[in-house]
Amino acid sequence: MTTAEDYKSNGIGKDLAIYVCLLVLAGLQFVIAYQNIDASQMLRRMLVVAGIEAGLAALFFMHLWKEKRVFLLFVAIFTISVLLGMQYGWTDSSRMVVGAPFSKTQ
């Protein structure tokens, strides 16, 4: 567990700074939502911001940064690889609109 010394060495200011960063990043997502750009570009930008937010929350709010490096690597590599593995079906979702046999445009 994170020790009392760790908490003493890292003041409340660090938590507040991360909190403000998260608020700003969340606000940035709302700004992106009102930009005049196409949906795919908007999605990419929002996901990048969400990824940064998630990284900050996991590293500092969930104290992953203070855990052993091998554990940090385990969590990061395992999670990211499974998340990437879920992306294999996007071409099929496009075929639902533009291709046979389930095309709605035909």
């Binding site: 567990m1 909190y19 009102y34 998630a54 554990f71 079906g89 496009s94 639902m96 609109v97």
Partner: protein
């Protein structure tokens, strides 16, 4: 079982070695749960993206961001109060830790009420699980599934916060239990950071 029960000749460590990654068992269990739950939410969001991408008439029913912005602010703030609770617990300030844990639970309740209010508004406009006035009926199913799953997590978290807070105050739980619960609460917050852009902001009516 005693250590002798686990010990074989020439193999005295094995099962009695320290916890994996040198992390206490409860905390490791919570991390493994969080990793598994990440997959659950990711699967829901990918499935949502799949049907959204494959639907020609995807509804964009959200005209205002006020409610979702307020919900985001409340949830982010609850993560901060959770950190304050953990800090107080680590410092041995039982009253402070209990107070901040209850503040976190109260913010969770506010978030849930805001969420239910938003659901009610959409239901009043004619949106159900399988149909809505704006386009494909898949929207209602995916929206209520994803936000409902998240709301379930928030509700469970609020109950856990109250139970752990009370038991911590009573001396049955310690600061480590607050930290483990904090991991769960921050995870709920983290998931919301992906739900907001994908489910709400991409469906804003311009």
């Amino acid at each position: 079982m005693s250590q002798a029960d686990f010990t074989m000749e020439g193999h005295s460590t094995g099962l009695t070695a320290g916890p994996a990654f040198s992390i206490p068992t409860k905390k490791l269990a919570m991390w493994l749960f969080i990793i598994a739950d990440t997959m659950t939410f990711a699967a829901c969001l990918v499935a949502y993206g799949f049907v959204r991408n494959g639907s020609l008439e995807w509804p964009r029913p959200f005209h205002s961001i006020t409610n979702v912005a307020l919900m985001t602010f409340v949830l982010l703030t609850s993560s901060l109060t959770m950190l304050f609770g953990l800090r107080s617990a680590r410092a041995g300030d039982k009253a402070g830790a209990f107070r901040w844990t209850m503040v976190t639970a109260a913010l969770g309740i506010v978030f849930a009420l805001l969420h239910i209010r938003e659901w009610q508004e959409l239901i009043d406009q004619g949106m159900t699980l399988f149909k809505n006035p704006w386009g494909t009926g898949l929207f209602g199913a995916s929206f209520f599934s994803i936000t409902g799953l998240h709301l379930t997590h928030v509700t469970c978290g609020v109950i856990a916060l109250i139970v752990v807070g009370v038991r911590y105050k009573g001396g049955r739980y310690n600061a480590d239990d607050i930290e483990v619960l904090g991991l769960y609460w921050h995870f709920v917050d983290l998931v919301w950071m992906f739900v907001v852009p994908l489910v709400y902001l991409l469906n804003l009516a311009h």
